[in-house]
Structures are given as C-alpha cells and as structure tokens.
C-alpha cells in the first residue's frame, strides 16, 4: 500500500474495512456513535412551500366587505385582532403561535423567476449561482449528522444544486430527483435509492470494495477525497438508524392521521422527525395553488390540507419542546389577483400578498402590515423578499449581512443588504 500522509483517506479506508463484519444490527457502529454526540441542537427551519402562488387573499387576508373577497368567510382566531379564512379552523385556534405579514410586495410574476428570487433572495445575475435559503442555512449551521442538513420533501426543489456553496449543501430530495426533471404528479414520500435491492448482495460488494480500496493506487487528491466522503456519508445515511428518520411507519397511526394522510401532511410529519434529529432546513411542498380557474373550490380543498398539516406540526413541535428552536415559514412564490377573473379564478399577483411565520425567534399572534379594502394596494409596511429573508436569518440567530464567496469571486451576503428585518416579529 502507498505511503502518503493523508490521514483522511486512511481513516476512510479503515472505516470501510470495518464494514467487513457488517450486519444490519452492527452497521458502522463507530460512526453512529459520533452522530449521537451532536446534542447541542442549533436552530432549524421548516419552509412550508405553497407551490404555484397561493391566493393569500383567501387564506390570511380576507376582504369580506369587498367584491374581490369572493365567497369565503372570515373567522375569529385565538388572537382578537386576527381573522383568517373559515377553511383554516384548526390554525385559527392556534393563532397565538404564529404571525401574519400581510404586506408582502414583490416584482416577479413569472413562476420560475419568482421562485428563484424568493428562495435565493437575489435576482439572477449572469453566472452567479445563488444558493437557496436552505443551502445557506445548512452551510451556516454546518451540523455534523448522518442525515443531510437540507432536505426537500415533495416534488422538486427550485434550486437543485447547492449553488456556489457546492453539492454538499444541495437539497437532499425525498420523493423525486434530477436536476432538469419536472416534478412528478404523485411523488411518493421516499428517499430514492436509500436501500439496496438486496442487503446480502450489498454486503458482498462492500466487502470486495473495501479490500480493493486497500490496494488502490489512486493518487491523493481533493477530488478523490470528496468522492470517498460522499460515499462515506451515503453509507452513514443507509445505516438503519439514520435511514429510520425517513420511516414514517414508526409513528403512531393516530398521529399520522392527525397530520393528514396525503403527501403534504405526511411531509410535515417527516419534517418534524428530521428537525428532531438535528436537520437544519426542511422544505415541505404543497402543490396546486396556481388557481387561474375555479379558485375557490381548489383553495378550499388545499386549505384543509394546509390546516391539518401545519396545525399538527405546530402542536407536535410545541409539545416536544422543539418549536422554540424551529422557525416555520409558510409562503409561495407570489399571491393572486384580488380581482376574480371570468373562470372564478385568480391570476398571478406579486404586488400584495401574505406570508406566515412561527416558532424560533418569532413573536406569535401578530399581524404586520395591511392592504387596501380591495386588496390591490399596500396600506402599510411594504415588505420585500430581502426584508423577509433578513427576518428569517435574524430569527434563527444568523447575521443576514454575513458574506460567502461566490463562484464568480464576488462575496455575496446571506441576504440582500437593502433588506430590513421586521422588528415587530423579533
């Protein structure tokens, strides 16, 4: 064997040799213990992503006095100054846990551009590969864990790589894959390729691999180290203890039902399991909000899923003492036109919309900003993407002005320095 001073590779080799005695009960025990030591839990973020652009005028900022309001009624909540849609009854009882920002105003009215800007905080510029919020958070906290630190649940993430932070901070996708592939209609909540087809076959292969690695003549290089590190992390994730994070069958049937049995409800439950295990950022996507036609029937149905999933998540996190360390953000890429179109639908509308924040450093029970009677104009507290992101970073103890070096050799701040955090919420 070669004689060179690269301890990391030697360590990895030793480790792989350790798999020689592999069985399901003793999978890489040394590594599993290392992971268990990470007890000092930093903050986490769960982003509930309402894909397609939700009609927030029918969720969080109703206009029952105006023809733009449509048929939905407003209901009272646990907070006297806050009313929300009648189709969010469970959340209404928990209003002291979350706050609504009713004065979001952005520029992009095209789905993909609006998604990119919402999630990276920046307008695409030349070759700069802006990482998504999840990558930034995962990179800042950099938790040691057998489970990836940024997990996307349901459909495809908007930014599939790690941007200029590199693939180590790319979203780990549950229920879909591919960089260019479009989201599958009914993606099942599972991690692609997490399990070998045959464990005994895998054992044979890993044994041969370990022995051949020990006689390998590959020169030391950062690329080889990175490859072997990815294999190492993948094997750690395949470790039944880590892989179990993704197994919802471990949860009580009653709790699973409480969250809602659809992919979104189960995704919220998965998010809780991941956050519990130290994952820094989880995105749970609920698709179908692009309601150009038949808005009210569809929003009603989606609201019921949202109500169950999000309310159960808030309650579950609070009961487990996790809510104080977990920020929840609920938003889409933009809102929808206050005016109702000819097909009882609403079209894209970035000028006035709402987001909901809860947990971590957020003061609940607040309503920030307002829109005009018809919902078309902002009435107070204009809030832009940069302001929202500054709030997100501040609420989890990160400095939005911190810089990371980008792929074009220009430092980029976590969020646009023009943004100002919403102080009322912090």
């Amino acid at each position: 064997m070669l004689n060179h001073p690269v301890s990391r590779r030697a360590a990895i080799r030793g480790l792989s040799l350790g798999t020689l005695g592999w069985t399901t009960t003793s999978w890489l025990p040394a590594l599993a213990d290392v992971a268990a030591e990470t007890s000092n839990k930093p903050k986490s973020v769960i982003l509930i992503w309402l894909n397609g652009g939700p009609a927030t005028i029918d969720l969080w900022d109703l206009k029952p006095q105006h023809e733009n309001g449509g048929p939905f009624r407003e209901i009272a909540t646990a907070v006297p100054s806050m009313q929300i849609s009648e189709h969010l009854p469970t959340l209404a009882t928990m209003a002291s846990e979350f706050s609504i920002v009713r004065s979001m105003s952005t520029r992009e009215g095209d789905h993909s551009r609006a998604r990119v800007v919402s999630l990276t905080g920046y307008t695409p510029q030349g070759a700069i590969q802006f990482p998504a919020l999840g990558s930034l958070v995962a990179h800042e906290f950099n938790v040691t864990n057998d489970i990836p630190n940024y997990v996307h649940v349901g459909g495809q993430p908007t930014v599939s790589g790690g941007g200029f932070l590199g693939p180590q901070y790319a979203p780990f996708v549950v229920g879909g894959r591919g960089r260019r592939e479009m989201p599958a209609a009914n993606a099942v909540l599972k991690v692609e390729d997490l399990h070998a087809e045959s464990e005994s076959l895998l054992a044979q292969r890993l044994r041969l691999q370990a022995e051949l690695r020990s006689v390998s003549r590959m020169p030391a290089s950062p690329v080889v180290d990175a490859l072997e590190s990815a294999y190492d992390r993948a094997l750690r994730l395949m470790n039944p203890r880590a892989a179990a994070a993704f197994n919802l069958d471990d949860e009580e049937r009653s709790l699973r039902d409480l969250y809602g049995t659809g992919a979104f409800g189960q995704g919220c439950l998965l998010a809780r399991r991941l956050v519990e295990r130290g994952v820094s950022f989880v995105e749970v996507s609920l698709d179908g909000w692009d309601t150009h036609a038949n808005n009210f029937d569809r929003v009603k149905e989606l609201s019921q899923q949202l109500d169950r999933g999000m309310a159960s998540l808030l309650k579950d996190l609070r009961e487990r003492g996790l809510l104080k360390d977990t920020l929840i953000v609920c938003q889409g890429e933009f809102g929808r036109t206050p005016r109702i179109n000819g097909q009882a639908g609403r079209d894209h509308w970035p000028s006035t919309w709402s987001v909901v924040l809860a947990g971590a450093g957020i003061r609940g029970g607040q309503v920030v900003g307002s829109t005009s009677q018809d919902g078309i104009k902002l009435a107070s507290k204009p809030t832009h993407t940069a302001d929202l992101l500054a709030t997100v970073f501040r609420s989890i103890g990160l400095d939005p002005r911190k810089q990371n070096m980008s792929n074009v050799g220009r430092p980029i701040r976590l969020s646009d320095p023009n943004g100002e955090a919403i102080e009322e919420l912090l």
């Binding site: 060179h4 070759a127 960089r179 044979q204 690329v223 993948a234 074009v408």
Partner: protein, 524 residues
Amino acid sequence: MTNWINDECRRMRPSWLMLLFMVAVPSGICAAELSPTDLSRRIDERLGLANADESQFADKTAFLRRLTLDMAGRIPTIAEVHDFHDNTSETRRGDAIHRLMQSGVYDRNMATFWRRAWVPQADTREFASVADGFELWLAHRLREGTRYNDLVVEILTMDTGQPATGKTTPIGFYEANLSKPENLAASSTRAFLGINLDCAQCHNHPFARWTREQFWETAAFFALPTRDEHQQARLPKVRIPDTELEYEPALLTKAEISFPAKLDSVSLRQVLVDWMKADRERLLAKNAVNRMWAHFFGEALIEPLDDLSRDEFQSGDRADLLKEIAETFIASGYKLDFLVEGIVGSKAYRLAASTAASRVPSEHPAEDKTPFRLHHASVRGLTGEQLYDSLQTAAGLPAERRDLAGGSTRGRRRDFPAQFYVERTHHAERSISQALALMNGALVNELTSAKSNSMLASVLSSPFMTLDEQIDTVYLAVLGRHVRENELPVVKRNFLASPDAGREQHLGNLFWVLVNSAEFNTNH
C-alpha cells in the same frame, strides 16, 4: 517576452521573395507554416518539460483513458484499449488523437463543453430546454470545422427577430438570457471575453476595472434601435432600473465607434463583435484558450475563468503562456482543432497523476512569482455526461447518441447527467444522493446482470475464458487497464467467500465495485 511566432519564422529562412512577403503580412503567412506540434513544443518549453521523459508520463492505458474522456467524453472501449496497447509505433498517440477528432462524438462532446461555457444557465431546470437546440447547432458547426471567431459572430449577430424554420440556431443563448440587454451583456462578456461585469451592474466597485456606466453601455448593444419622427433609426438608450440614468452603446475600451449607416439590432451587435475580434487585449482568443486549458488540465491558466482583465493577471508565467497560445490560436485562424491538437500533443498533457503529495495550488495562481510548472496531472471528477457515457461503454453498450441529426428521445441520457452535474472538474464534489444513485440506483444495478450488460454477457458466454481472463476483461472494460497482480487474488478470494453466488453474480459484483471506485469516477 519574445514573440515566438516571429522566432519560428526566422528559423525557417525561406526564400528572399517569401521573406519580403512575410514582412508585409507576418503572422498570417507564418501561421500557415505552424503545426500543432510547434504549439505542443512551445508549451513544454514554457513549462520546463522539454526534456521530460517516460518516467514522468502516465502509462499507455492511463493516457488513452484520459485522452478519450477529454475528447470523446467517455472511457475507451476494450477494443480501443487493445489497439492502442498493441500499437508500438512512434505515432500511436497522434493516431489516437486524429482518430478521435474524426469521430462524431468528438463534436458532440465539444459542443457540450462550449455550450456549458457560454450558456451555463441551461444546466438549471429553468433553462434546461435550450440546451439541446444550442448543442445541436454547435455540433453541426464544429463538424463543419467552423472557426471559433465565426461561432461567436454567428451567436452575437443572430437575427433573433427572424423565426428560423427547420434549421438549428444559437437562439438558446438569447433565451437563456431572457433576451434582456443587461443579462446578454453580462453573459456575452463573461462567455466570450472572460470579463466579469456582474459586479458593475449594480455599483461601481472601488477596485474593479469596470464601472456601472460601462456595464450599461455594453448592455445597450443588445437593445433595439429606436426610430425618430422621420423613421430614422437611432441608437437605443438603456436605463438603469429605478434611476433616470440612460446610456447609449459604447465599447469597454472607449474606442471610437463608427456606427453602420443601416442601423438595426443585428448591425449594432456586429459593432460589438467586430471590436471583440480586433481588440488588442486578445481577450476573445485568451478566453477560448484559458477555458480549453481548463478542459484538458482541470485548473485554468488564469483563475477565475471570467476575470481575465484583472490587472494582476497581466504578467507572470501563466499570463505569458496564455498570451502566447492565444496569439498562435489567432494565427491559426482560430482553428479549434489546431488548439486541441497542440494541447493534447504536449508532454504536459502526458504527465502522470503522480502519487506524490499534491502541491497546494496558490489562491491566485497568476500572482504566484515562482515559475509556473506542472509536475503531474490533476485528478478530475467526471462530468455527468462523461459518467453516463462511460457507464454505457463499460457495459459494452453504445454510448454515442445517434441523434446528431435531431430527435428528442434522450430519456436517461438527459436525466442521469443532470443528476451528476459537475461545476468544475478539478473541484468536483459528490452529493449523497449521487452516491446513493450510483450504489443503489436502477441504472447501475441493471448493468450488474448479463441481461443488460453486453460486456458481461459476452464474457460469460465465452467458455474458453479462464476466471482470471474474465476478471481481467471486466477491468479492461471498466477501468481501461489490466487487473494488477495484487488485485487478482483479492477478487478471487472474495468470489470464493460467497460460494452460493454464481459466476454472473460474482462478475456483476466486480462490475459494481469498479464503477463505484474513485478510479472509475475520475479522470487521472
């Protein structure tokens, strides 16, 4: 610095008449006399490798694998390995280079390379749809032997208002930039000149060479000329968003422009590209050479790739070498094949990926005052396309796409490379999902059985082959080399350890282990 083109000219000492002619048109004539071998020699002299010998070079099979991956985008087939191994002539490397250059897969591979350099946005889901059309156009042009400068001209002077029916065009460049002047300005200068104007879009940076004004003046070349009250075309003005500031087209060098009499969108962009070709800084050629160098060596001569105009990158060994190669490239008439052959024919390209501890590259290589030397080849990660095509090749399946003439049934050939996207090969990283896909994914696992793997099928149906020969064949197919003496007993011992598994499973396991190895997943 001495101008070696002139050195070469003097050395040739042609006839009197010829000499007189050369004085009149020095570089043009002389370039015709220059061969790629001269370029290779000059690179090696510059790098102190003129006297490098076999002991420093990669062995035969490693060289062929590297060359085939870089030029054809896949590993060599078993037959190619055998042919190269059996060829003992002095010209075997040149033969291999020429054979690869003649293959259609070379044009396809280089089309992907240049598309990625020029339209990197197409590697994101948002703009993925433009990749195919752009690469198809490019592959056709490369096959026709179109010169580099003409490719750039065709892209930048495309009449985007004319719908192209039934023919391929570089429209993807405009689509990926949403046809917005500011995006096109940033992308054009970065892609074709290696200039980073991104920062200048928003503000004047105290140390940057380019101002915000210059950014928007460049953007104005991509705006549509307006018409005055007499229907006369007038220079367009672009306004910086949220300001009252407006700018007309102007060149980065502030050179005087004589605008065309017939002013329209195309002729306006023609002014910009004419300047790119004529500019004394030679950034058009330098950028091409620098990116090509990065393709074959991993690290470019000047890093980052899109900041060639920075003051501190104008001198030093790396800058000098870049300038020389760029001048030769221009003298060749911007012939890409000349440049490629010059680079892969050099001793520098033959260096072994040494097992000695790697020298840590300096943060800003161009500022490094120690002489620029290459001691060994860098280990580079495979791109997604290389990985997919190499997996197919290893399994004895055709890697080359037959769809150069059109067609969109790419399926896995599209999804798999996208899943294994790599930004820069010498800094390649792997994600957990990628590692999982290669270990447990359907594609690789299908290839571990003879049903889907023709290489395994033919090995298993060759009764005259001993076990040792079968194992060796799997090594040749996957790693492009023979099994080593210390590996063979390890493999056989492992086969014996699982006696219940049949020969197919044993060899399938070996295939799995080898395609999951660092040796297979890198170019070294």
